[in-house]
Structure formats: C-alpha cells, structure tokens
C-alpha cells in the first residue's frame, strides 16, 4: 500500500520534472533556432508546457486560459505575420548569441534546481475553499472584488491600444503615401 503511494508520488513528480524540462528545452529552441517558423513553434510548445504545469498544480482554468490566449490567439498572429512577411532563415553570424542563450538556459536550469531543492513549499495563503481552488469562480471572485480597479484600468489600457491601432490603420496620411517621383 505504502509502496504504491510512493510510486505514484514519484510518477507525479517525474511528470512535473519532464514537463518542466520540456518547457526549458522549448525556450532554448526559441532562442537558438534560426528559422522564424520553428521559433514560433517552439514558443507554442513552451506555452503548452506551461499550461500543463498549471494543470499539474490543479489550476485548471489558468491552464485553459493560457492555451486560449497565448498559444491560441497571440501565437496565431505571430504565425500570420511570419506567413505574410515570409519566414526566411537567418544566417548565423556569430556565436555570441548562442553563448548568451546557453548562459540563459543554464541560469534557468539552476533556478529550477534551486526551486526544487531549497526549503519547504509554502501553503496557499488566503481564504479560498479547497473545492473552489483553481476554478473560474475563485479567479472571478478574486478579480472582481479585490482587484476591480486594476482590472478596469487594464481594460482601459487595452481599449486605448485597440483605438490606436484602428487610427493607425484606418486614417492614412496623404503626404506620406503619395510621394512625387
């Protein structure tokens, strides 16, 4: 009985470790890969790994939203731009970037090691009942009670950005466009 419990715990931990490693490797791919399409794909992979990590820690809603917003909406626009501009392979000029990337990755690995080993993990603070944990309801309650001002301000910010984009795209400036040859 006890053995099996430990086996299952080990399985859970190893799954978390594998997903975390994949996330790190995918981010490595984003930095090291020279073709923009593959970079974007690695980034998508990284985001899916993050969503899986959220899922493994019972934050179901956050995981799904991570996939919808980042992997689904943001990255598809990246792909759009790559498709429109043509994804040419970059020629590797110097290995400085590569060295930087390696340093970055090893820093990340070090952090992973630290976070895995150092100290006890803190219990969840706050008065969220356990059956609500990770659900949309808990996040909604938190967001619309404590952080309502910040939430509304952020939505205003997004609205301003949207209006700005429409202004840039819709109203062309004639002198800039029709240049005399």
């Amino acid at each position: 009985m006890l053995e099996i419990a430990t086996v299952f715990d080990f399985a859970h931990d190893s799954v978390i470790f594998i997903v975390g490693m994949t996330a790190v490797l995918a981010s490595l791919g984003v930095v090291l890969c020279s073709s923009p399409i593959y970079c974007a794909l690695y980034l998508i992979g990284h985001m899916i790994c993050l969503a899986l990590l959220f899922l493994l820690y019972n934050a179901e809603f956050l995981a799904v939203v991570q996939i919808i917003v980042y992997a689904g909406a943001v990255m598809i626009l990246f792909m759009f731009i790559i498709a429109l501009l043509g994804g040419k392979k970059e020629i590797q000029e110097n290995s400085f970037h590569r060295a930087m990337a390696l340093t970055f990755v090893f820093t990340l690995l070090g952090e992973l090691y630290l976070s895995a080993t150092v100290g006890q993990t803190e219990p969840i603070k706050g008065d969220i009942p356990p059956e609500l944990f990770g659900t949309a309801k808990a996040i909604g309650l938190e967001l619309f009670s404590k952080h309502i001002v910040a939430f509304e301000l952020a939505s205003c910010l997004l609205l301003v950005a949207a209006v700005g984009v429409i202004c840039l795209a819709k109203f062309s400036f004639a002198p800039l466009r029709r240049r005399v040859r």
């Binding site: 099996i4 809603f61 919808i68 992997a71 689904g72 949309a136």
Partner: protein
C-alpha cells in the same frame, strides 16, 4: 521460486486494484478515440448519399448494398496511394500539419459527455472521457490549436494557393471563435458553470434552445464557420484556391485533413446538443441517454450536410463583414440582455 511468483502476483493484483480509475480511463480513451475515428467513414458515406439525394442524383450506390462498401474502398485507396512531397516543401512541418489537425480534433472530443453514468461491477462508469471543470473552455482551447494545422500546412507547402488558404482559415477561425465563445457565454451565464455535465443537468426541464434561440442560431452559424464547412469553406474554395491549404497533400495525409474536419463537425454538433438541445435528456421519451444524444447529434450532422448542398459559398470580404459587423454585435446584445435578466 513460487514465493517470488506469488509475491509478484500479489503486487500485480494490488496494483490493479489501486489503479482501477487509471485502467478505466485508458479504456475509455481508447474507445472514444477509435469510435470517433470510425465515425468518419460512415459520415463521408452519409454525406455523399445525402448530397446525392439533395441534388437529385444517385450518390455512391455500386459498392455493396446502398454503397456501404464505398468508404471502405476509399480508405484502402487512400492508404495505398503514393505520398508525394515536393522538394521545396519543409518536410517536418509538412508531416506535422495533418497530425496536428487530427490530434487536436480527437483530444477536443475527450471532454464531451454523451450519456448518464451507469454502474458495472460496483464501478460507476461515466460516459465521458474527462469531466473537466472548465470543459467548454477546454474544447475552445483545443479547437483553437487546430488552426495551427491549417496554417502550418499552408506555410510548409511552399505554394501560394496553400498559403492563401492557410491565412484565410486562420483569419476566419479567429473571427468566428469570438462569436462562438460569446454566444456560449450566454449559456454559461444561465447555468453559472463551465462544466458541460452541469449544463446538461441545468436543461432537465427545458432545453436552452427555447430560452436562447438567438444564441443557438449564432452558435450554430459560428460553428459551421469554425469547422470550415460550406457555405463558409473559403480556405479550400476550388474556384479561387485550387484546394486551399491541402493542395499539395496526397494519400493518407490528405485524408487526415478530412478526418480532422469530420471529427470537428461531430464535436461541434455534440457541443450544440450539449449547450442548446438538452444533451442526453430525452424529455419523456423512453430512450437510452446515449441514444438520445446520438440522435440529436446525427440530426445536426444531417443539417450540416443539408446546408452544404443548399447554400452557395459566400465571398471572403462578406464573410468577414458578416462575422464582425453582424454576428458579433448580435452576440454582445444577446449577452447583455441575458445577463440583465439573470441579475434581475
């Protein structure tokens, strides 16, 4: 020696006892995946027969009784066809794209509940792959990932038609995903849950199609656009784009795109059934819950085919205008009215 054998046997029995949910889950996953994949040939047959009838012709009727052997023959043909990849294509992405389409389609179906739980050997077997708390959002997330298959097919083929098809499909699906999500949101407001099982339980007396007719209509239209079916099959418009994003694909890889499309069609019909038609509730009719669900889904699939053989394809700019300037405001209005009534 025998002692070791008995120890191992005990361990295996203990392990099996402990991991019953795991085993049940695996079996369910296999059954659902195989079931949904074997629905596809039947659906192709149904579509070709029904289309034939709608257009006053015969449809496939030579292979076996009622042409039942036709899907089999087609599958064999597609499996044995030569797989051609042009030399300018990106090999890895070219292979990846159809796989993404099929995998996302099958995974999306995993959270669809299709019947009431029942008891076998003291184990309560639930008729769904996984009861995810935010099941509806999960389906949307996975169907959003399915777009990548088409975009990647367009990018990897190194063909202008494919690229245009891929771009069109991504733009179309992003636009209609909003409508899909917002019209589903009014049902979420009514039930107060993202869980698909809860939604079915909320419709035990009245299906939501009677409460939310506009949301049903919007959801269904957006669902057709989301699955790239006619009259919204712009990504593969033959007159303009040869065959769209799968122009360069042959054999089984070509068939995989079709498989993805048909599985998505089934998933979308199942979603409409769950959200608006009352799921597996039979409303007084003496039907097994799974059968009631299957009948509703089958009817919606026939409506999909009916629409395909009825409407001409609409122009691309009209499609986008329709999505952004008609459907989306209607959705927002509907949501506003629904939530106002809910609060009052």
């Amino acid at each position: 020696m025998t002692q070791i054998f008995y120890d191992t046997w005990d361990f295996i029995v203990l392990f099996l006892n402990e991991s019953v949910p795991l085993i049940v889950g695996s079996v369910k996953a296999v059954v659902i995946a195989v079931g949904i994949m074997s629905v596809v040939p039947m659906l192709v047959w149904l579509e070709r027969r029904l289309m034939g009838r709608f257009q006053v012709r015969q449809g496939p009727n030579r292979v076996g009784p009622f042409g039942f052997g036709q899907p089999m023959a087609d599958t064999v043909k597609l499996l044995f066809k030569e797989s051609i990849i042009q030399s300018s294509a990106d090999k890895f992405l070219f292979h990846l794209a159809p796989a993404v389409v099929v995998i996302t389609a099958i995974v999306g179906f995993a959270v669809i509940p299709f019947g009431e739980p029942f008891e076998v050997f003291g184990q309560s077997i639930e008729m769904w792959g996984a009861n995810v708390n935010s099941g509806l959002l999960f389906v949307f997330a996975i169907s959003g990932m399915g777009i990548y298959g088409m975009v990647l097919a367009g990018l990897a083929s190194n063909n202008k038609y494919s690229l245009m098809g891929g771009l069109r499909s991504s733009a179309q699906m992003i636009s209609y995903e909003l409508t899909l999500g917002l019209s589903a949101l009014s049902v979420i407001v009514l039930t107060g849950s993202l869980n698909l099982v809860d939604m079915v339980h909320a419709q035990e007396t009245v299906p939501f199609i009677l409460v939310q007719p506009l949301a049903f209509l919007l959801f269904f239209i957006a669902g057709i656009a989301e699955t790239n079916r006619a009259p919204f099959d712009l990504p593969e418009a033959e007159q303009e784009l040869v065959a769209g994003f799968h122009t360069e694909y042959t054999g089984m890889k070509f068939a995989m795109f079709f498989m993805g499309e048909y599985i998505n069609m089934v998933t979308m019909s199942a979603l409409v059934t769950l959200l608006f038609l009352g799921g597996w509730n039979a409303y007084g009719l003496p039907l097994w819950s799974v059968l009631a669900f299957a009948i509703k889904v089958g009817f919606l699939l026939c409506v999909f085919i009916w629409l395909r053989s009825t409407f001409p394809r609409i122009r691309y700019d009209r499609l986008m205008t329709f999505g952004w300037k008609v459907l989306l405001p209607l959705c927002l209005l509907n949501l506003l009215v629904t939530s106002t009534f809910k609060v009052l």
